[in-house]
Symmetry: C2
Subunit: 213 residues, 2 copies
């Protein structure tokens, strides 16, 4: 993985928020449940949410073999995959200094179709385990027919960067006595009570909602 | 706002998930804390998270006047703004039928710089209120100097669509007796205890975390 930014991934605005070390970028990709994929068709950019998975320095995407996004990307066009975690609302004294605490990772590159059946099955395992660690061992695995109906794309994490904001609001000195609350409202994703489907067999525990931290 | 999809916003894959009515699209944009903006520079798509706000059929984005994204978009290039809410993990019996319950809105168009000072101030109010309803009335409003340092972009919601998945997993008939839990893990964003900053004045309540539903 990249240890230095490329000219295209260097964080230009607020450069102190730029993060380029591979483990930090991987951690953001792993914690984010989904990502947004950008690609261009006839000059128009499209940004589509999708589920991803990561294994080492490879990012995997998947979808129906009939999907417009998968077909476009597998043609080898430039892509951008961005994963964002919102950690809190930053409530400053001035409207101007309001912000969010967040961590986002941006991966640039070209996706390629994973055609090797073993790598394809492994990528699907990585994607399922990404969302729900331990789930792969519990479920019925893909059949050859399902594998044919699924496209898997792989992308290198070579050209990637992250941007991170943490901490309290930073107000101007002359606003420090302004009469309002100031601080951070921490935010996170939490799970509600699991909803078994109507035909769920008794005797099995629902998967826990777990993220790598 | 659009009442029928354009050829570019028609949901091609799983068309039953396509949603085109303007109030439903607006509701997704309003509930999402942030969006992802796609734009193209020198053939490379970029996808950048940012905070938005909506007023009627106008979507507003903002940022530093020095921001690369704001400068690129204000040149009138094609853009795509996507906002996604993840509502749950869909746990099927087969790996193949795992999914997420989600609502996503995709807006295509061209952003234009908001130069009228009144509309610019109103757009910033809309963005602050989008994230934290009621906050605008509590904080110190932008000065002329801050307005100059901030770029605001407006975008029409004319060409927009949404995609929504709800409900339980849909497994194949032959998998219904497979020995695992099946159902939905509902997910949502929740706030932790507010963290006042070190100089926060006493006597003020922190804003509640509230979303339109």
């Amino acid at each position: 993985m990249a240890s230095a930014p490329s000219p295209r991934t260097t964080v230009k605005r607020l450069p102190k928020r730029g993060v380029y070390d591979a483990p930090a970028i991987a951690a953001i990709l792993d914690e984010a449940l989904a990502c947004h994929v950008g690609f261009v068709v006839e000059g128009q950019p499209y940004v589509i949410p999708t589920i991803h998975g990561r294994s080492g320095d490879r990012l995997y995407l998947h979808g129906s073999a009939a999907s417009r996004m998968l077909r476009a990307l597998s043609g080898g066009i430039p892509a951008c995959v961005t994963a964002t975690l919102i950690d809190g609302l930053v409530m400053a004294r001035s409207a101007f200094h309001h912000s969010m605490n967040y961590r986002s990772a941006v991966v640039l590159g070209t996706a390629t179709l994973v055609e090797d059946p073993d790598e394809k099955m492994e990528a699907l395992r990585v994607i399922v385990e990404h969302v729900s660690p331990g789930r792969w061992a519990e479920v019925r695995w893909p059949t050859p027919k399902e594998l044919l109906a699924t496209s898997v794309l792989g992308m290198s994490l070579e050209e990637a960067s992250a941007k991170v904001r943490t901490g309290p609001p930073i107000d101007d000195a002359e606003d420090m006595d302004f009469a309002c609350w100031a601080g951070v409202l921490p935010l996170g994703i939490t799970a509600g009570a699991p909803i078994p489907d109507a035909a769920c067999r008794p005797g099995f525990n629902p998967p826990e909602f777990r993220r790598p931290r």
